[in-house]
């Protein structure tokens, strides 16, 4: 894979991961052109298009477009599966992920991506392993607060909430609303 872009239906960039060295100017140009091209595609068209000398695989999930540029010898159909796997990971982590989650927690979206892909290739084909690694890494940054370890992922929160008899929030972003007690490092 050469790069992956996530963008909204209005063409706003939500995530960009580049696996090839390009200048900022070039990246901006490519992004602009590709976003335009993909947004111009009609719903009935197939998920692949030839763009410059690359193959582009894209798929829309709700309001977000996931777009990957792969090389000629790469398998387009399995790339669709890679995209789907990433969405599944985001979904599990954030609990019914939506675009807002990715906007407000973009750095976490990157962390998850970097735990799944390295240099453009999948590191681990097990969903469970990737999620476990992220959760473990997240724990390294948690801060004890009033004797309760502040959870950093939705699933961990849910578990903690049920232990303490507290209502679980509907989504991760809702939980991330600035509560006076939360001490986020970021």
């Amino acid at each position: 894979m050469q790069f992956m872009l996530l963008f909204s239906r209005q063409g706003k960039l939500r995530l960009q991961k580049w696996y090839v060295p390009l200048s900022d100017k070039e990246k901006k140009k490519i992004t602009r052109e590709l976003v335009q091209t993909v947004l111009a595609r009609k719903p009935k068209m197939c998920s692949f298009l030839e763009w410059r000398d690359l193959k582009v695989v894209y798929k829309r999930y709700a309001s977000l477009y996931f777009c990957c540029a792969i090389e000629n010898q790469d398998n387009e159909l399995i790339t669709l599966e890679i995209i789907h796997r990433y969405v599944e990971l985001l979904d599990k982590y954030f609990g019914s992920v939506c675009e807002l989650d990715i906007i407000f927690n973009f750095e976490k979206a990157y962390f998850i991506l970097d735990e799944f892909l390295l240099g453009g290739e999948a590191q681990d084909t097990s969903k469970k392993n990737v999620l476990k690694a992220i959760e473990q890494a997240d724990l390294l940054r948690s801060v004890p607060l009033h004797g309760v370890i502040q959870p950093v992922s939705y699933s961990a929160w849910c578990e903690l909430a049920s232990q303490h008899g507290v209502n679980q929030p509907v989504s991760y972003s809702a939980w991330c609303e600035p509560a006076s007690q939360s001490v986020s490092m970021v």
């Binding site: 068209m45 398998n75 599966e81 973009f106 290739e121 999948a122 600035p178 986020s184």
Partner: protein, 788 residues
């Protein structure tokens, strides 16, 4: 100093901005705050500030002043700092900035950190954006990690190694020992990344590939792993829609492809597993089809047995019928790759492919079009052409040029009859006339000229088309040319092929004059119609009308038209006795190589041009003189060359089509002659004019043998009088086979600057029935055109 605002706070604030200007203002304010915070070397909130900077960077704002801060974060001992720092490095830094090298030491330390997640961060960053220098410095660390028993790190190290090899190929060797045991791991992550690493090594180094094939004997190992995946029961950890670890399966299949390519033994070793995967994989979901797709690619690329290949093509055929357009697309792409090697198998799916021409998706339509052209042959030409012409009618403009060219090419190769050919061309001209390539006009004119029996039919159809529509220039040009040539047939109502139409000379001239004045006509087209009108002066009786038109254009603003009109006027006034001869019907032209669209030809892999030797002469050498030649000719020489200067040419090279036409003409059709015929050996001479020098005659000798024994050691020698120069090129062979089963050809070039009568003395030596034969002969019967 109040704490800098939190990231989420910033995001929320920026999102409330209603205009771009408002957003910019907020960003600038925050950037200023961040900058001063950086200046104060604030450690506590550096992480927060850099994170905010990264957000603003994603919105498109400059963030380079944060680069050094990222480095400081990486060097910090806090995990959260490192995480953001490395992320910032991957987003803001790249190998172009020297700053990135400062990371090297940090990464080195982190690669040896006690916490595996820190090591993971370092490996990830190195594997994502490490420069060659960094890779060189850190390759040793990566190699060490490749040998660790910690699978979390091992899998990352493998992918990091892939990146290192891509950046510094020479380092590949050092990873070899560590790679050896990777495939015996049980962990799927390690297996997957190891296969990627092995694939990269094989693709980069043929030696490595050989080593893996023969020394490590990888194929059986891979086959075993793949087999286990398929045969093993449900494994929840790696299951995707009922298939066990499709990602790993696909990568293994790809590696097998590389190992099996052009190697019989390897290919044989994987035959069974490929057949198994091809038949047992569930096809209801995309995952299964992804595996099948990779399998098909592998089968087609290795030396598989024919049964397996047919299986593969049938899978593709089934893909074509799949509801999922992605699958259809992938099938068409693959079929395009295999259509040359497995032509018959692909032909079986022709009707499905043709149906894809009606698909809504642009990429699918294009693929289907390319594939359709590849499948056209003598048997299916009529049916296929119907579909393709229908496609041409309805397709988007971006396709029309390629499709038109493809149709012409196919028609030229496989036309079942001349009439069909001309009808097809007419259809293309009328439906996609403005999209045909420029060179198709002279090609078509040549085709029409050479279909002598179709002249009346052609000119009638073209005339009718002109009445309908004069906007498509190629059509108009071809039509004017034909009307100029065959106008007499048009008015005489001689058509055999279809109902002849009633048209008068005046009506024809009305149409041609209409072209001259119309805004839709380009200057080139006007040139064509003026010339056509002129030609009709010898075919029609209304010469006065034509004279009037011609004289009007003698003062045309268009220089080209003016020149033509002036010359035609001269023809009327001073050289009227020459007019009939000059405006005579065009003779049959020699065929030049047809210029099909290179794109389509390349995609299909069709490389044969329809006529191997290009006899297309550059006419640029002739223009300036042509106009003068006309007058000189009429003034001086009493010999009127049969073909040359039938039409005055343009001095400039604008347009080009007409020049090309005349280029064809200047290839004289000198009749071949028998130079020698004795004792069963016959030698025939055929002629061409060499270009650009018209003083050189190119003679090709054809030697044939009617006796029952071969003539071996055949040598042809020739001598010419002193005023000539001779060049003999090498013969095709020195055996003239018996009973006319073949011939020896040899090319002779004769330079004849003084245009004297060509004579030649030939000496033949050969061995026939065991005994040597030698003969001398004089060749005097050269046709006059060969030396004039």
């Amino acid at each position: 100093m109040p704490a800098p605002i939190r990231l989420r706070e910033l995001i929320r604030t920026i999102r409330t901005a209603r205009t771009q200007a408002e957003e910019r203002e907020m960003i600038q304010k925050e950037c200023a705050a961040i900058r001063s915070s950086f200046r104060e070397e604030d450690n506590t909130y550096r992480c927060r500030n850099v994170a905010k900077l990264l957000y603003m960077h994603m919105l498109g704002y400059p963030a380079h002043f944060g680069q050094l801060e990222c480095l400081k974060l990486i060097a910090s001992q806090k995990f959260t700092d490192k995480r953001i720092g490395y992320l910032g490095a991957m987003l803001l830094l790249d190998e172009r900035q020297d700053v990135h090298l400062l990371m090297t030491n940090c990464i080195k330390n982190d690669l040896n950190h006690s916490t595996q997640y820190v090591q993971g961060l370092a490996l990830c960053t190195l594997g994502c954006m490490g420069s060659s220098e960094m890779c060189r410095d850190l390759a040793g660390e990566v190699e060490k990690l490749l040998k660790t028993s910690n699978s979390y790190l091992r899998k990352k190290a493998a992918l990091c190694a892939v990146h290192v090899i891509r950046k510094v190929p020479e380092l590949m060797e050092m990873f070899l020992p560590a790679t050896k045991n990777l495939l015996s791991e049980k962990n799927h992550g390690v297996l997957h990344t190891s296969v990627v690493l092995l694939t990269e090594m094989c693709e980069r180094s043929p030696d490595m590939l050989l080593h893996f094939r023969k020394v490590w004997i990888l194929v059986p190992q891979l086959v075993r792993i793949l087999k286990n995946l398929i045969m093993s029961g449900y494994s929840p950890e790696h299951d995707v829609s009922g298939i066990s670890d499709p990602f790993l399966q696909v990568r293994i299949l790809r590696l097998l492809r590389i190992l099996g390519r052009s190697d019989d033994d390897s290919s044989e070793a994987m035959n069974d597993i490929l057949a198994q995967v091809a038949t047992n994989t569930e096809t209801s979901k995309n995952v299964g089809n992804a595996i099948l797709y990779e399998t098909v690619l592998t089968i087609m690329d290795i030396k598989s047995e024919s049964g397996l290949r047919v299986l593969a093509i049938n899978i593709l055929g089934r893909f074509l019928l799949n509801n999922d357009k992605n699958i259809r697309y992938v099938a068409l792409t693959s079929l395009l790759k295999t259509v040359q090697t497995d032509h018959n198998a692909v032909q079986r799916h022709r009707s499905t492919i043709v149906d894809c021409l009606k698909d809504l998706d642009v990429s699918i339509k294009r693929r289907a079009m390319e594939l359709s052209f590849a499948l056209v042959n003598g048997n299916n030409i009529r049916g296929m052409m119907k579909e393709l012409l229908y496609f041409l009618d309805s397709c988007d403009p971006e396709f029309k040029a390629d499709c038109a060219s493809g149709v012409f090419l196919a028609a030229e190769k496989y036309a079942p009859s001349k009439r069909w050919h001309i009808d097809t061309i007419m259809r293309v001209l009328t439906t996609a006339g403005s999209y045909v390539r420029d060179d198709s006009v002279p090609n078509l004119i040549q085709l029409i000229t050479n279909s002598v029996e179709m002249h009346a039919y052609t000119v009638q159809r073209l005339y009718k088309a002109l009445l309908d529509d004069i906007s498509q220039q190629p059509l108009v040009q071809v039509s004017s040319w034909c009307i100029g040539e065959y106008g007499d047939l048009l008015v005489s109502g001689q058509c055999e092929e279809e109902e002849p139409i009633q048209v008068t000379e005046d009506e024809v001239l009305d149409v041609l004059e209409g072209l001259l004045v119309s805004n839709l006509s380009t200057p080139v087209t006007r040139g064509y119609s003026l010339t056509a009108i002129m030609k009709l002066s010898t075919r029609f009786s209304s010469v006065n009308r034509i004279k009037k038109v011609v004289s009007i254009y003698g003062s045309s603003i268009d220089v080209e038209l003016q020149q033509r009109a002036v010359e035609y006027n001269a023809l009327f006034k001073k050289y009227d006795h020459m007019r009939p001869a000059l405006l005579e019907r065009m003779p049959i032209m020699e065929k030049t190589a047809s210029n099909g669209p290179t794109e389509i030809v390349q995609t299909n892999g069709e490389t044969e041009p329809s006529v191997p030797d290009t006899k297309h002469p550059p006419l640029v050498t002739q223009p300036a003189n042509q106009a003068n030649d006309l007058l000189d000719l009429l003034g001086g020489n009493d010999v009127v060359p049969v073909i040359q200067t039938t039409l005055p040419t343009k001095p400039a090279s604008a347009g080009g089509e007409l020049l090309d036409l005349l280029g064809d003409l200047s290839l004289s059709t000198i009749p071949p002659m028998t130079a020698y015929s004795k004792n069963g050996l016959k030698i025939e001479f055929t002629f061409e004019r060499a270009n650009p020098n018209p003083n050189i005659a190119v003679i090709t000798i054809h030697a044939t043998n009617t006796t029952e024994a071969d003539m071996t050691e055949f040598v042809f020698q020739a001598a010419v009088p002193k005023t000539f120069q001779l060049q003999l090129l090498s013969p095709s062979s020195n055996i003239v086979p018996a009973l006319n089963q073949g011939s020896v050809t040899q090319v002779i070039r004769v330079l004849n600057p003084q245009k004297q009568q060509l004579r030649m003395r030939v000496k033949l030596t050969y061995t026939h029935k065991g005994s040597p034969v030698q003969d001398l002969a004089e060749v005097n019967n050269f046709p006059p055109q060969s030396w004039q």
